[in-house]
Symmetry: C2
């Protein structure tokens, strides 16, 4: 029930392994003036693959930013059914919650580095800095919009369309023209799309056989027919 914080490091101790908080905070999108103030409260932390940052029900005392690696936010049902709410990739913020407790757990998909900010300090910045306030407001609106887009996917799209949507969304976060990195495993993808591992695996095979993708290894995908995938993802396939 308590927050499991692996590898607690001071900024100084970490300097040679990961960028210091100051450097990372400076990268806060469009928030040059916010960076300095957040710096003082940011702590860089490393988490090994599979480690838990916090669990559903933990007191929500912090907000985080992903510096490197990948994480997943996860919810569980009583009988063990699992749902991956979101994959958290470099640049993503998380931990903005309306209640005193986190409504989901966050785990490291691969080794990951995050910056942790005390929620109180973060909210202080919001109160004193209208521009920061506005920026984060917009960021949360964008998150909301993305969640609603995903609701459409989960509610009305077939397994094929879901996977195609996922691959395209992942491609948009990576470098154009290159193989898409999938830090998560098949099970994570399945739980993100509301499918089973078997279905995800079968669909990837089918996409490959149709020439839509290549699968150089288990953690990368080359999109060979981006347009075909897009059509599939929109439910416009023949």
């Amino acid at each position: 029930m308590t927050t499991l914080l692996a590898h607690r490091h001071s900024q100084a101790a970490l300097a040679h392994k990961a960028p210091p908080a100051a450097v990372i905070a400076r990268s806060l999108a469009g928030m040059a003036t916010v960076g300095a103030e957040l710096d003082r409260s940011g702590t860089v932390m490393n988490f090994a693959r599979g480690k838990t940052l916090f669990e559903e029900g933990d007191r929500a005392g912090y907000v985080f930013k992903v510096a490197s690696g990948a994480l997943r936010s996860v919810r569980l049902l009583a009988d063990g059914r699992r749902y991956v709410i979101k994959f958290l990739l470099p640049g993503d913020f998380f931990g903005f919650v309306p209640n005193a407790e986190y409504p989901y757990s966050v785990e490291a998909v691969g080794d990951a580095t995050v910056v942790r900010y005390a929620r109180q300090a973060f909210e202080g910045v919001l109160d004193r800095n209208p521009q920061a306030s506005r920026t984060f407001f917009n960021a949360v609106c964008k998150e909301l919009s993305a969640a609603q887009e995903r609701l459409l996917v989960m509610g009305r799209k077939t397994a094929e369309e879901r996977l195609a949507s996922f691959l395209i969304a992942m491609a948009e976060r990576g470098k154009p023209g290159q193989a898409v990195e999938l830090p998560m495993n098949r099970g994570d993808i399945a739980d993100y799309l509301g499918l089973t591992v078997e279905t995800v695996s079968r669909l990837l095979t089918r996409f490959r056989q149709r020439g839509l993708i290549d699968l150089p290894d288990n953690h990368s995908v080359m999109l060979r027919d981006h347009e075909g995938l897009t059509d599939l993802s929109l439910g416009e396939a023949a």
Copy 2:
């Protein structure tokens, strides 16, 4: 493609039919100081059942608050599949979007009254009033949290569990102990839960046969066994 605005009324012309904007704005939860400033930009508008406030792709020039009635935000796929993102009930704000265009349409489920605020004016208030800014930030965080909760429902719950979740959520918005009003029809519920009309109808019948609910008429439900429904909704049923 253009915004369809039915029944455009001035505040004065409407005064006898619906509360004036001033009265409504005053009800903004925890925002006494914001009310006065928003008043000046708020316009009360009525929409008849089925009318469209705006469509997917329209320029997002306004934010809205529901004063009375019910609306639905809707997305469509190319082949006509429909998904209801959210039912908008009295007190709900909507229209906070990160882009220049609305990503969904909003239609009146039954006759509805909303207050419309120019987005620019609204954002002005946010910039000048840190407390309002904070309040709306929290509101959007809450929305996001609700959307993520719904993602779990859509991704991992069975049809039965989805419908039970829906009935309980609707009950929480109504008056305790009373019949739950369902302003929307079966098709809307189906599109909200990612099911078909037939499945929703069959499940309601099944719930009634099991003594979980009563169906006094097509637009109300009495929850007879709240605990049984809750167990169902959590996937903890025998």
